[in-house]
């Protein structure tokens, strides 16, 4: 098992944000977590990334407890809703960032970045600054910046929620292709039912800080809490 999360609890002052959250994730698989805004999805991802500390519970990566490991040593990349590219670096340097801080040689950086830029369809934009890019292009760069360091686990926090429908569909397709090609292990958090189903190998639903992981997609669909039944009923009523 690549990732094991056991009984994570987190409170912010009087508010309970996560309650006995647990999950397991196998290598090269994507777990989608569906949930409404404020249900604790982002906090869970930030705890796994080491950006927020849990009050109790354990996180194991490849069987090693990483509770006390700072985020820079976990190698778990967190991708937020906004692409958040470094505004002072162009596309090439944004993607190369992780390699530069690992002090890789210039030739190796050039080769790796160029390959990834090609795969992400960003050749024409290589020397553009972030403010010159569209939302979809920024998210592609964000993917590139995350993938280039070959992280064992990628945490995606509603990465496509700010994109228009067409771009969102393209990005979902791109992610599926990349996830297969790079053998990515990831947790994909979203509040969109279709996206959750489309992106996942396994699926969970989070409500008021409690996470339910389903055995398969059918059990997720048949659970009345997830909202899938209401969605189906809506489309059938048209």
């Amino acid at each position: 098992m690549l990732l094991t999360v056991e009984n994570i609890n987190k409170r912010f002052y009087a508010e309970t944000v996560l309650q006995n959250v647990g999950l397991v994730l196998e290598q090269h698989r994507t777990l989608s977590i569906l949930g409404k805004s404020g249900c604790g999805k982002t906090t869970l991802l930030k705890i796994i990334a080491g950006l927020v500390f849990q009050d109790s519970g354990n996180i194991f990566l490849n069987g090693i407890n990483i509770n006390s490991l700072p985020p820079n040593l976990r190698r778990i990349v967190y991708m937020s809703q906004e692409p958040l590219l470094f505004p002072h670096l162009d596309v090439f340097e944004n993607i190369a960032y992780g390699l530069r801080i690992r002090k890789e040689g210039p030739a190796a950086i050039e080769t790796k970045v160029d390959q990834l830029v090609g795969k992400l369809g960003l050749q024409e934009h290589k020397r553009k600054m972030p403010h010159q890019l569209s939302g979809g292009q920024k998210q592609r760069v964000n993917f590139g910046r995350s993938l280039i360091i070959n992280p064992p686990l990628l945490l995606l926090d509603e990465p496509f929620s700010n994109l228009d429908t067409q771009t969102r569909r393209e990005m979902q397709q791109l992610f599926k292709e990349i996830a297969g090609e790079f053998k990515i292990t990831s947790i994909f958090v979203t509040h969109d039912i279709k996206e959750a189903l489309l992106m996942c190998d396994s699926i969970g639903y989070m409500k008021e800080g409690q996470l339910t992981i389903y055995d398969n997609k059918n059990s997720f669909i048949s659970d009345s809490n997830t909202g899938v039944q209401q969605e189906i009923a809506f489309w059938q009523s048209l």
């Binding site: 930030k46 990334a49 820079n72 470094f86 002072h88 960032y97 530069r100 801080i101």
Partner: protein
């Protein structure tokens, strides 16, 4: 409407430029009395005299410049670091509020309050004392100016950099400093000006021994020596004007 707009612009330009032209004229005037619109005679000896050994205007210029550069550099760096620490503190509003106190007091009153401690520490009448006294105003100013930089967006950038593998110093030097560059330059320039034109603290803490250029101007005014006051005022304007031009030409233009 177009004519009125043009007239307002011209009046604005004249009002902005007039004090500088007036000072320049006064500094080279030999004899300028009412009701004459312009000086009767002009002379360059006063300007040439700056470079003579007996004239200490150049020394004051160098001293002012050295003090202002040190105050600006230290307060910008300290302000950046302290404002970051404050932004992460749960009592940040209270701490930021406290930063207003040194700025709310008149510099003269403030220096009278702290002067006793400077005497005890043998800092009174020294350049170090004047620098420390000016920092007591410049650092809170920097903290207040740079506190707006530490937004949720910057915190998120730091988080992203950390998950990509950056330790604190890598995030600081490769992300935070470059992103903060425009704000840091503004802060450096502003604190330079605070120090450059500072009078109250420098007078009381420096007890007349630390003769900055601003003190020289007031000295000449006190002596009713308007021509030398104008000359030193011209000199006092030059470094900030040069600084502003360099900033505009070479620094801020590269940020766009």
């Amino acid at each position: 409407m177009g004519g009125l707009k043009k007239a307002i612009v011209i009046i604005g330009i004249v009002l902005s430029v007039f004090p500088f032209v007036f000072l320049a004229l006064l500094s080279i005037a030999q004899d300028w009395r009412f009701p004459f619109l312009l000086p009767s005679y002009y002379q360059s000896a006063r300007w040439a005299g700056i470079f003579t050994e007996s004239n200490d205007l150049l020394k004051s210029l160098a001293l002012s410049f050295a003090i202002a550069i040190m105050v600006a550099a230290f307060s910008t760096i300290a302000g950046f670091m302290i404002s970051r620490t404050i932004s992460l503190n749960v009592k940040r509003k209270l701490l930021l509020f406290a930063c207003y106190f040194p700025l709310a007091l008149s510099p003269v009153i403030y220096s009278l309050l702290i002067n006793h401690y400077f005497i005890l520490l043998n800092l009174s009448g020294t350049i170090t004392g004047v620098i420390i006294a000016q920092l007591l105003i410049a650092v809170p100013f920097s903290i207040l100016l740079l506190s707006s930089f530490w937004s949720g967006y910057i915190r998120s950038l730091e988080d992203i950099a950390a998950t990509l593998g950056s330790n604190f110093s890598q995030s600081f030097f490769k992300v935070l400093l470059p992103v903060a560059r425009p704000q840091l330059l503004v802060c450096f320039f502003q604190t330079f000006l605070i120090s450059w034109f500072e009078f109250g603290l420098t007078t009381i803490i420096g007890v007349g021994k630390v003769q900055t250029l601003t003190l020289k101007v007031f000295e000449y005014i006190g002596e009713a020596n308007m021509y030398y006051a104008a000359l030193s005022s011209c000199i006092i304007i030059l470094p900030p004007a040069l600084f502003l031009w360099v900033n505009k030409k070479f620094v801020f233009s590269n940020l766009n």
